[in-house]
């Protein structure tokens, strides 16, 4: 049976969402009997997290090397490709996260393997097996097959349904990659502080985004209030990032982040193609704009033609009322 390796990223006591989605998909495939699935993770792993992972995957392979405690592209690429070669895996699959997209191309070269990056769907039952991935910022999608085995695949977060598997009790294996001295030639000096509780845009289920229509940096409070109430992450357009109203990390679009949430609410955003390219795979898009002819409405499921300074607080108030009622 062909083996698929799922690369799992963890954060403290949590499985990263992008990895969780793959584990759910992997458990489904494993139950289908067509593939054997193994999850691989690096670095520290708490008991609670280990127990959680073992309910999600038939086999968890944990590399405990000190050299893998923090991320390095060379360390991760060599350790993962080494294991894939050892077990003759058919496929490595990982979240198309910053880290996943950074080191897996190196792993593909080490394995002399093909790579399919940032896929949004898989046709597991097709022969040949194919993946769908956006190109040109989502203007078109390509159906891609691979001739070489193994193949290395990264999957855009929010592409696979998160249906928790039941009755899985995985096997736990501890390993060492034993990377030769000098494999890793980058050194992490320091890591910045994460915003507490903030879900990264690329993995967020809910996003509230604002553009020039907010008129001033301080007016983003209207966006933040609504976002905080529903547990959404705040996004922004290129022009407001360039105007220094928001951090670069908040930018959605061609030169910023590509997002795929269940709900994308955008206010005061006209719909420049640069922005659309970053959010067009969102499931439900709600646009609020004063201009009934704004291009953003061509890409939205629901539109409200109105002043965001009235509509946003009214939405926040309405949700608060509903929450109070329970």
């Amino acid at each position: 049976m062909d083996t698929i390796i799922i690369f799992v990223e963890t954060k403290g006591d949590e499985v990263r969402k992008a990895s969780m989605e793959l584990l759910c998909e992997g458990a489904r495939l494993s139950a289908g009997g067509k593939f054997a699935v193994e999850a691989v993770c690096f670095g520290a792993l708490t008991e609670a997290l280990k127990d959680k992972l073992l309910t999600l995957t038939p086999k968890l392979v944990h590399f405990t090397d000190a050299s893998l405690a923090s991320y390095s592209p060379q360390g991760y690429a060599h350790a993962l490709s080494g294991y894939a070669r050892e077990i003759e895996a058919k496929m490595i699959i990982a979240g198309a996260t910053g880290i996943g997209r950074d080191f897996l191309p190196r792993a593909a070269v080490i394995l002399d393997a093909g790579m399919i990056s940032d896929v949004t769907a898989a046709n597991w039952d097709n022969d040949p097996l194919t993946f769908i991935r956006p190109q040109f910022g989502g203007k078109v999608f390509a159906e891609v097959s691979f001739s070489a085995s193994p193949v290395v695949v990264t999957v855009r977060p929010n592409s696979f349904a998160m249906e928790m598997p039941e009755g899985v009790q995985g096997e736990y294996v501890e390993r060492s990659a034993g990377l030769p001295e000098g494999t890793i030639r980058t050194r992490l000096i320091r890591r910045g502080e994460a915003k507490p509780g903030a879900v990264d845009l690329t993995e967020a289920d809910l996003i509230v985004a604002g553009g020039r229509g907010l008129k001033a940096a301080e007016n983003f409070k209207l966006i933040e209030d609504l976002a905080a109430l529903i547990g959404a992450t705040v996004g922004a357009t290129r022009s407001v990032v360039d105007a220094k109203w928001r951090d670069q990390a908040d930018q959605v679009g061609k030169s910023g982040k590509t997002v795929s949430p269940k709900l994308y609410i955008c206010a005061g955003i006209s719909g420049a193609i640069h922005h659309i390219m970053g959010m067009d795979t969102s499931k439900v898009i709600v646009a609020i704009n004063r201009d009934p002819n704004a291009i953003i409405f061509n890409y939205a499921n629901y539109g409200i033609v109105g002043d965001l300074f009235d509509v946003l607080p009214a939405m926040t108030e309405e949700i608060r009322k509903r929450k109070e009622k329970g």
Binding site: A77, S117, D200
Partner: protein
């Protein structure tokens, strides 16, 4: 300090992209530009040269038209440019592209290679890291700051939400993210120079890399983006419209 910048000529972000009737090709409006992230890479190379001395060489793999992208790089201030001319560059996957580029780089001497973090046409974001692995070099991805001192680089990487400061010995490869710098607009003197300069073209045979395209992945067909149903406008005064959209999102779409 010798710096090589790898660039790609891509369709302008505004260019129309349509799927051909066969479903296997794309018809792309012929408006081209330097890949936007590559402009940050060129600019950073020029700034490093201004600070530390040395040369900046820009290399592009592409069709004959890509010479225009290299002229733009010369106009910005690059010392040298070279085109690896390959009519079938578009059929290459990331691995195959990186194989050709690393073949070309084996003939160069450099301390630093700069690339954009992703090309905005194929959107793969694979090639710089693959080139690094083919050449056995370290890389730091998605950088927003780069300092060089004592044969070492200190780079700030914005791979994830949290910035990381990474130290690496040279030679090394870096991929540029927006925020690294503000690319300069070429001066008229630069444009004049770029118009006159002879840009050497190399074939794959010249570089001793395999001419045949043997991609490990193949695009079987193109599919249109999923069409969203026509927008439903929610009417009424702000309070009414707000109540209605919240009702739809909670009860109908069940997303909040």
């Amino acid at each position: 300090m010798n710096i090589v910048v790898l660039i790609k000529q891509v369709p302008d972000p505004e260019a129309l992209v349509e799927i051909a009737a066969s479903g296997k090709d794309l018809n792309i409006e012929p408006k081209f530009a330097i890949n936007l992230f590559d402009e940050f890479a060129i600019e950073e190379a020029l700034r490093l040269k201004e600070k530390h001395g040395g040369t900046v060489k820009v290399i592009c793999l592409g069709g004959p038209k890509a010479i225009e992208a290299l002229r733009t790089a010369i106009a910005m201030g690059a010392d040298e440019a070279a085109l690896i001319e390959d009519g079938s560059f578009a059929a290459r996957d990331g691995y195959d592209t990186a194989l050709v580029l690393s073949g070309a780089l084996k003939k160069e001497t450099f301390d630093i290679i700069l690339c954009g973090r992703q090309a905005i046409d194929a959107d793969r974001g694979e090639v710089p890291q693959m080139v690094a692995e083919f050449l056995g070099l370290p890389h730091v991805g998605v950088i927003v700051k780069l300092d060089i001192a004592d044969g070492k680089a200190t780079a700030e990487s914005a791979l994830e939400g949290v910035p990381e400061v990474v130290e690496v010995g040279l030679p090394a490869i870096f991929t540029a993210q927006k925020g690294l710098n503000e690319p300069r607009v070429p001066l008229i003197t630069g444009v004049m120079k770029a118009m006159k300069v002879q840009i050497p073209r190399f074939t794959l045979e010249d570089l001793g890399v395999p001419k045949d395209v043997q991609p490990k992945t193949t695009i079987l067909r193109y599919l249109p983006r999923k069409k969203r149903p026509a927008v439903q406008f929610i009417e009424g005064e702000p309070a009414q419209a707000a109540a209605e959209i919240v009702r739809v999102l909670v009860d109908v779409e069940r997303v909040i």
